[in-house]
Symmetry: C2
Subunit: 124 residues, 2 copies
């Protein structure tokens, strides 16, 4: 491989606002999304904002998943960044969009850690 | 505004490998970077990998900062995602690159949460 990772940036629109404002549901969705990619969960950190909105991250052995929600707009900014060949970040993104009951999503994949020559690294 | 956030994706090369493998230094750099952007720190989660490498996130009121390091390649994948007008994500990215003693960096800014009409949200 000549890229270490695949990073999906997803704009998720038309979501269920009650889900977007429920920190426990969002944390559960993000952890399950990590597992759906085939990743190993290492750390989680979620925060509920006042008056509304949730931010959170799941650190995985293969990089991370993050979410920031705006319930008042039905919108979530979702990132799924994975390294290695045994995981598929799109499985996580699609799971999250489905669980948020999204009407629309635009998502872009960005390669991270691109080297001219194939690289062999310690963790994979 | 018609975008909720600014997300910098930075590929940071030629870093000091000892710093990249020191989870306490990396955590300190990332928290100080958050403060350098003018952000408010909410949660932190860092993890040291065996045999090498560090992953970590700082959740801020204004979104997040993340890092994944490959000491054996002198490389770090850094993200700084901020919302609102009172913070500048580039201040965080530049601080991190300087503290990692990076020789090279390529970075891209992506707008997140783009709406056709200007949006007014609860938190800003």
């Amino acid at each position: 491989m000549n890229a270490l990772g695949r990073h999906i940036l997803a704009e998720v629109y038309g979501c269920d606002s009650r889900i977007l404002d429920d920190v426990e549901m969002i944390e559960d969705i993000m952890v399950q999304a990590a597992i759906a990619t085939g990743a190993e969960v290492r750390e989680v950190a979620f925060h509920k904002f006042n008056p509304q909105g949730v931010s959170g991250v799941v650190v995985i052995s293969e990089s991370h998943l993050t979410i920031h929600t705006w319930p008042e707009l039905g919108y979530a900014a979702v990132d799924v960044f994975t390294c290695g060949d045994h995981v598929n970040p799109w499985d996580g993104v699609n799971y999250i969009a489905r669980m948020l009951k999204a009407e629309n999503m635009t998502a872009t994949e960005v390669k991270r850690g691109v080297f001219e020559k194939p690289v062999k690294v310690a963790n994979f």
